[in-house]
């Protein structure tokens, strides 16, 4: 078991194809990050996030033979989680919201998106910016979360969302622009 823990993701994938127990190690490695990613994208309770995460793991397990080892396993797993979240919201016909972020996650997102230092912002101001971020379309919200909360590199975001690098860069820039526009519309001046 200790030996299996030392295996790389790609080696664990090969092992999991033959033995489901090995898949447990992969789940152990990624359950935390995927749980938080799903929580950040949705407004679900922890139990519901866990249900969704289980669906993601089952999907990953069923698709193990489709995994391309040229890709980072984490990017591939995030991609499946992203698709599963989209499917989930399609099923329940509602738009995801991002008010499930923790305070430290909001700080990261706001600081990176509008270059607002935490110590310069008052609580009221931060609340208003949060409300603006919640109003952003899903495509901008998700990419800002991936970049500034998950701290993913452009290459990883490309692989997760299956979008060209230029499109990723454009979406990030437009997301920031949209946020600033919304702040201006609501006369939020925190600088």
């Amino acid at each position: 078991m200790i030996e299996e823990k030392a295996l790389t993701d790609a080696q664990l994938v090969e092992s999991a194809k033959l033995n489901p127990e090995s898949f447990g190690f992969l789940m152990e490695r990624y359950q935390g990050s995927l749980f938080h990613y799903i929580r950040r994208l949705t407004q679900l309770q922890n139990d519901d996030v866990q249900d969704l995460l289980q669906e993601v793991f089952i999907k990953i397990y069923q698709n193990l033979n489709a995994y391309d080892s040229d890709l980072k396993f984490s990017s591939w797993a995030y991609r499946i989680a992203h698709n599963q979240v989209i499917d989930h919201f399609r099923r329940v016909s509602s738009r995801p919201k991002t008010n499930a972020l923790e305070d430290y996650e909001w700080d990261k997102l706001i600081q990176a998106s509008v270059h607002l230092e935490k110590e310069l912002a008052n609580k009221d101001c931060v609340e208003k910016i949060k409300s603006c971020i919640q109003d952003l379309p899903m495509k901008y919200k998700e990419i800002l979360i991936l970049r500034f909360v998950e701290e993913k590199e452009y290459e990883e975001i490309m692989d997760i969302l299956r979008k060209p690098k230029g499109t990723v860069a454009t979406l990030i820039a437009r997301g920031k622009q949209e946020l600033k526009k919304k702040m201006k519309e609501q006369s939020i001046d925190c600088f």
Partner: protein, 249 residues
């Protein structure tokens, strides 16, 4: 959290969930690429038809139609095929983007590769004559298509505009009797000024194109005669100076 891992493993075992076989993913990938190749091949067939339609026309007659090269070009463009080609190219582009790693390719590289693919296969299809054959098939099967596409036949069956084409029935002195493409009979008068292209053979059964003036429903005065295929220049380097003046009494 620990429960989630165990619960998931239990579910996998109890419900006998297994990784889907590799061949399934592989066949899906191969299927998509076969689809892309089929779309590119169809685009190649379309471009060979476009080439066939444009190459069969005589591009030096636009001054006689009181047009410049630009307006003439616009009037004979096969828009239906060009629009279809654009749709196919877009479809191929989007399909490549949707492949497993398609999002990683530079869009210019995809566009360039599709263009090269269409042109290369299109060149081959043109060489074996499938473009012309496909166009012929469309002309027979789809009357609406036949009415709306600019063809060599249409270009040369405008006697009122000075263009006539047909098969020589008899040659008598300076007069040719021809059956035009609609099977009407014409008497074509040749004069001392009539220019006959070098490769034209004025004999029964030969198909020719005539530039001139329509006198009435059956009479036409020729100012130039060309063979049905090509412009009758007999190879490169031979210009108007090489042409014969057909002079008969």
């Amino acid at each position: 959290m620990k429960n989630l891992i165990q619960d998931t493993l239990n579910k996998i075992k109890q419900e006998h969930i297994a990784p889907e076989p590799r061949w399934k993913f592989l066949s899906r990938k191969i299927g998509i690429w076969i689809g892309i190749i089929a779309v590119v091949a169809l685009g190649a067939l379309v471009i060979s038809v476009v080439y066939f339609l444009l190459a069969q026309l005589d591009w030096d007659v636009y001054p006689l139609m009181h047009q410049n090269i630009f307006t003439y070009g616009l009037s004979v463009m096969p828009y239906f095929w060009l629009a279809f080609l654009a749709v196919l190219a877009l479809l191929a582009f989007l399909a490549v983007r949707k492949t497993e790693n398609g999002y990683r390719f530079n869009w210019l590289l995809i566009v360039f590769s599709i263009a090269i693919g269409i042109l290369a296969i299109g060149f081959f299809i043109s060489r074996v004559g499938w473009g012309g054959r496909f166009n012929g098939m469309m002309m027979h099967q789809m009357p609406y298509y036949a009415q709306n596409v600019a063809t060599k036949e249409k270009q040369w069956m405008q006697p009122e505009a000075g263009f006539l084409a047909g098969t020589i029935h008899t040659v008598s002195g300076s007069t040719l009797e021809i059956d035009d493409l609609n099977n009407s009979t014409w008497n074509v008068q040749l004069t001392k000024q009539t220019l006959i292209r070098p490769s034209v053979t004025l004999a029964q059964g030969q198909m020719i194109k005539i530039i001139g003036t329509r006198k009435d429903a059956q009479n036409f005065v020729a100012s130039e005669i060309r063979p049905w295929v090509g412009q009758g220049m007999m190879g490169s380097g031979q210009g108007r100076g090489m042409m014969n003046n057909f002079i008969r009494n």
